[in-house]
């Protein structure tokens, strides 16, 4: 097969390389144009600055783009993806298939023009071992993906532990090679729009507007406004205010449009071994996550979405560092989903997890801890505002932070809890966003029970489990749960049951 020969990418890669380089040289070019335009220098200086430098830099970019395309070869050989590149500094990057953790295929504007795709290969070994094919035909990308997957599977069969797993599932291997792809989640336009409206960025803009409006009172003395409204209009303050508001609103609209473009066509597919997430209009993205790599599930309900009974679902991926996964390895699989639908989606693709479980709440005696802790967390804001009080009377508003803290503490208290279902531990904790973390016993890297002095007084503990996610870990926790419950969970996680179980756990 021709996949094994050294090959160059599609010549469109010259264009993508050039554009990538252009990002570094665009500023010197603009600078040269601006200085050249100032009209202070003589004609020759102007000629150099306005024509020779920009065109020269542009030309160098193109040459560089061409050379890197020309020197870049890739092939599949001896169970490795082998990439060679570089003119003076030659670089060889050989990535064994078994090290490839996920393959993602995306399509930017240039790739679309030529019917090509960009392919990225992610490994667990940190950023250094990443590889990317910037422009290759779609058909070839598919061939490579299939080939790598097949090769990985063959490697896995040699691995004894995996064979046991496959036999355990009781399915013949041949059936696994060709598997149907099933769509398990997609969003309609209305949902895409709602995601955009309620995203964190949009909320930030709204807060910004409110903050700005509250400042206006300081900018314009109110009594002055009545007396000399006309003068004010003339002085342009009002125009300034309107302009700022329009700019903020515009930023909001742009944030929404960007978000809509990003989440449009959002689709999650499943084929028994991988979850494939694709989305986007201008830039289509597709991420493939092997089920084996999934370390846990996180469900977030932010303030606004939570009010309407919607949530966001993430899967935790071990390794990988694509744009899709943040630093902490979370990959969004349902950006916007009705809470009661989550269970159906997850059961379909990750049957090991149970979403609809009942939670053991934290004991009532933990309530004061929640409330006091929450008020305490506002101490700095209160202190600062009280200092302001000596300058301006509205510093006294800080006192409102105390009941606010108490309310926040109370809602934290009502949400917190834990749930143990077979091999699955689910922990709930919230700040403003309600977060539930689902972890399987065999995926938990370490489990921690801690107790502060005040917790000891109230006989409660904090439990926290860490699963691998991205390159580091992700922590799921429940705060101030009954210390007996914590002890019970700790024992559940312990692999050595040598100690006799002294007391039975009583659930109230």
């Amino acid at each position: 097969m021709k996949m094994f020969e050294k090959k160059r990418q599609h010549p469109a890669a010259i264009l993508t390389n050039t554009i990538a380089n252009l990002r570094a040289t665009i500023y010197p070019i603009i600078l040269a144009l601006i200085i050249g335009n100032s009209g202070e220098g003589d004609r020759i200086e102007e000629l150099v600055l306005r024509i020779i430098i920009p065109i020269g830099l542009l030309f160098l970019n193109i040459v560089q783009g061409f050379i890197s395309w020309w020197r870049f070869t890739y092939r599949l050989e001896d169970g490795e993806l082998r990439i060679e590149s570089g003119l003076l500094f030659k670089k060889k990057r050989f990535i064994p298939f078994e090290r490839i953790q996920s393959i993602s295929v995306s399509q930017g504007i240039i790739q679309r023009m030529f019917g090509l795709v960009k392919m990225s290969f992610e490994t667990a070994g940190g950023l250094e071992t990443e590889a990317e094919l910037a422009a290759i035909p779609r058909r070839e990308a598919k061939e490579i993906e299939d080939y790598v997957k097949r090769a990985k599977k063959n490697l896995l069969i040699e691995d004894a532990s995996i064979v046991i797993e496959l036999e355990h599932e009781g399915k013949p291997l041949s059936q696994k090679l060709e598997k149907p792809v099933e769509c398990i989640y997609s969003m309609n336009f209305q949902e895409v729009f709602l995601v955009a409206l309620t995203s964190g960025g949009a909320i930030g803009v709204i807060v910004g507007i409110l903050a700005f409006l509250s400042e206006i009172g300081d900018i314009i003395p109110i009594n002055l406004f009545y007396d000399e409204a006309k003068a004010l209009l003339a002085s342009g303050i009002l125009i300034l205010i309107v302009t700022v508001l329009v700019v903020i609103l515009l930023a909001y609209v742009i944030a929404i449009i960007r978000s809509v473009l990003k989440f449009a066509n959002f689709k999650v597919e499943w084929d028994e071994e991988n979850i494939m997430i694709s989305h986007g209009v201008l830039e289509k993205k597709k991420t493939t996550v092997p089920l084996k790599r999934i370390q846990g599930i996180v469900i977030d309900e932010n303030l606004i979405r939570g009010l309407f009974g919607y949530a966001t679902v993430y899967i935790l991926n071990a390794g990988g560092s694509s744009v899709e996964t943040g630093v902490d390895g979370r990959i969004m699989i349902c950006p916007f989903i009705k809470k009661d639908r989550i269970s159906t989606v997850i059961t379909r693709c990750l049957p090991d997890y149970k979403i609809d479980v009942s939670y053991t709440p934290v004991p009532k005696r933990a309530k004061p801890l929640y409330i006091l802790r929450s008020i305490f967390s506002f101490r700095i804001a209160v202190a600062i505002l009280l200092c302001v009080y000596f300058l301006k009377p509205w510093g006294l508003l800080s006192l409102f932070l105390i009941p606010l803290g108490a309310i926040l503490g109370y809602i934290k208290f009502t949400f917190a809890g834990w749930s143990l279902t077979g091999e699955q531990l689910a922990l709930r904790d919230r700040f403003l966003t309600k977060r539930t973390t689902y972890m399987l016993k065999r995926r938990i890297q370490s489990l921690e029970v801690s107790q502060s002095y005040f917790q000891r007084l109230q006989k409660v503990s904090t439990i926290s489990g860490t699963v691998m996610s991205g390159f580091a870990g992700l922590n799921g926790k429940a705060v101030h749960i009954d210390e007996e419950d914590a002890r019970f969970l700790y024992r559940w996680f312990s692999l050595e049951k040598d100690e006799p179980v002294k007391e039975e756990l009583t659930t109230e």
Binding site: I444, L447, V449, Q451, R456, Y490
Partner: protein
Amino acid sequence: MIREPKNRISEKALKVWKIHGLINSVITFLVVLGASLYIYFSNWPNWLIVLLSVIWIFGFYFFVFLLPKLRWRRWRFEVREQEIEIQHGVFVVTQTLIPMIRVQHVDNTQGPILKKYHLSTVKIHTAATVHEIPALLDQEAEELRKTIARLARVADEDV
């Protein structure tokens, strides 16, 4: 809380922590000294100097004498066939369980002060977390590292 792990760390840890406390105290002493001189020469009320000194003396006692003792008393660990258990913390007592199959590798590290007392710190790495057992006798640390490495290999599993 939960049953305590068996092993304690070396008693020499007390000395090491005391030295750390002393170093920190010297640094804070210099800061307090500087602040006091500033207060004195800019004619701020003198009781501020007294206050700072009292705070420093309490801090000195706490970080050099009390804290190392409390820390040492709490510090415990146990390496069993299938898991490692660690307990530490003075105000917040934390107990951690690390299954052997999750252990990726084990390091021994040693700073200049630890070296003087022939102590080493054992660091246990999983795919997502790092756990430390500080101040073990060199020989003990070496044995522990080998034991964990051996047990972890036996219990090898995917991620």
